[in-house]
Symmetry: C2
Subunit: 385 residues, 2 copies
């Protein structure tokens, strides 16, 4: 009787939440996506009135769209072939309208679009899962950037145990690509999960990971600054004109003043994807005694010599100086079908010409987060050894 | 010419992102929602094939659904009446299928549903906006809860300047309702924005805000624990059976060991909404010398005497002891149409009976985040005076 009364009151309470929670009292409860034992994945949509429903996702072969099948109960379904371990993203297209999966609350934003995600484990994507290991802390905070005359937002990962000891840690500066911001590596890149797992497995040293916003005209990610909840667009102004490189010392100063770090070259790494690879290349060259570890993930190596910024002057000479100063790892990764493949090949020739030693990894695939997460998993264990 | 070459390369780079970014190359660029100068809001959906499109949202009067009008270009629109300043949530219903607004990346999850949000400023919702003031830090970290035999995730707001001084701060423990988790107050409650603004305006003292997970069977919010990306449900087990109250000392110990706080009654506050109001009531009573400030926001006051947990024993006597010990603020807020209105009225009679002094605020509306954000805005300035 006691439990009955309590249960009834709880149900009343739940009813009240449904006022707030418009979708909660759905008529049919379905599961989507459902990851089956054989690693196939079943997607489901309730759309009795639709005449055509499709699945669009990166788990499908070209062209990346597959028709879903209508069942007698108005539920459309699609089951994939067995899938490799990966973080996948997808949408549904219902009578031409692209929608998200109402039964999957997990999603990521990339610039102005939001897609659902799922993780198929049992392989490389196990690195992206939250596992039963000690967890680091992810903080969103603000720092002063005098070089940009503004407060700016930054994401900082501190490793498990950071708060409870006196150890000084090494720092990896991890930079996003065009369209990204200080949220990108943590959300799309699963950085905290990857580092938690690699550190727990003894594969990577405990390190602080600093994820700044590489669009110097932005204070913060869309929705996180005084511009309010505007519609995001690609950030072009000043993202690749030297300003990020010139003002990067603001970030290093902030980190070294606010965290227990070893403030020396052997304990600093910088890596980035696409535009962030470009930034990492130039920042590490422009401050040639600052980083012992450099990672260029599918770097967008633009003809920087064509841009009038002192950051990009004397490219070959300053690059040679950087290597002559000595560094421990200069790591380049790119996918075989990446549209930047040729520029990276040309850049490698340039490195060869000046006698620079680097590590080169050529992966399958193109310009994708799947590769960038992989590169982080490969790169982080090589740091601070 | 230099700029042209650079621009072309940038466009190529953008093209490559579109591979990742399935929605980016939409054929038509529309804005939705558009907040007009007169505080009306226009919503838009591109759905040329649909035969019926509706807007569902809390800015509409009952029944909360309005038909949208099809324009000649296949875009459906709806413009509201001028709206009061508020954070609103909404969805579209296209031929019976509830979908999110593809042109609005801002959204919140509440249990298993995700809805779009917008903020109409110029009034009370200005407190929810990010403004040009110093910003606190929001951290997601893990603490050990021996009482629950697990590591658990917690959200901590530290006020602007916390990292750069030696001050000891007061602490507000802020608890979510049923269906919520350690993400709820930060996401739905706009806690960081509210505190940043109130502190900058001199209305609230700088304080640390601790937002734990009140579902003791959970390690963390859905998607943030080892269960992976499962479909969330209401958390019933052990949420209101005394376990949260019994193990709350784990949270206080963690906070007081890891943050610069004034560890005394006059510098501790506890508040919560709905189930979190119930937790706040019982935690403050069960540890009757711990909190000088208690906030019950639309509290779900269950017949706790019917549940067999020592936390709920001797209700009146222990409540009287709490008040006899002295406290500075016992604040109760509830909406006139809240389904919990009567139980709160009964509880107030009980407080009157034992001679307890409290502050009572009766607002318009029901069991909604609109009220809970308001209550925080009213409650926080009264703390630690």
């Amino acid at each position: 009787m006691k439990n009955l009364i309590f249960g009834l009151l709880l149900l009343t309470a739940i009813g009240s939440y449904a006022q707030e929670n418009l979708n909660f009292n759905a008529k049919k409860e379905i599961t989507s996506p459902e990851i089956n034992a054989d690693k196939t994945v079943t997607f489901r949509v309730i759309a009795p009135n639709a005449s055509k429903v499709e699945l669009q996702g990166d788990m499908l072969g070209a062209p990346g769209i597959a028709p879903m099948l209508k069942q007698t109960d108005g539920i459309w379904t699609y089951t994939t072939a067995p899938l490799k371990s990966e973080l996948y993203s997808y949408s549904f297209i219902v009578d031409g309208l692209k929608i998200r999966d109402a039964n999957n609350v997990y999603q990521i934003r990339d610039v102005a679009s939001v897609v659902n995600v799922l993780i198929v484990g049992g392989g490389k994507a196990d690195n992206y899962l939250i596992t039963d290991v000690p967890h680091g802390t992810v903080s969103k905070r603000w720092y002063d950037s005098p070089g940009n005359s503004k407060q700016r937002r930054i994401t900082i990962y501190t490793p498990p145990g950071y708060e409870n000891n006196k150890t000084k840690y090494p720092v990896l500066y991890l930079l996003h690509g065009m369209g990204g911001d200080e949220e990108a590596w943590a959300a799309l890149g699963r950085t905290a999960q990857i580092l938690d797992n690699l550190i727990a497995q003894g594969k990577a040293k405990p390190m602080i990971v600093v994820m700044p916003n590489g669009n110097v005209d932005q204070q913060a990610a869309p929705g996180e600054d005084i511009k309010g909840l505007y519609k995001p667009t690609m950030q072009l102004p000043n993202t690749m004109d030297g300003k990020m490189e010139e003002t990067f010392t603001d970030i290093i100063k902030f980190v070294e003043a606010n965290y227990r770090v070893n403030a020396n070259k052997s304990q600093r790494a910088i890596a980035g994807l696409s535009m962030g690879g470009y930034h990492s290349l130039h920042i590490s060259r422009f401050y040639p005694k600052t980083f012992d570890y450099i990672g260029l993930f599918s770097p967008a190596i633009m003809p920087s010599s064509k841009i009038s910024s002192k950051v990009y002057e004397n490219f070959d000479a300053t690059l040679k100086t950087q290597f002559d100063n000595g560094l421990k790892l200069y790591w380049i990764g790119i996918g075989k079908t990446d549209f930047l493949y040729k520029t990276v090949t040309d850049y490698r020739k340039n490195l060869d010409k000046i006698g620079a030693k680097y590590t080169y990894v050529e992966s399958e695939g193109g310009h994708t987060w799947s590769n960038w997460r992989d590169y982080l998993v490969q790169f982080a264990p090589q740091l601070f050894k």
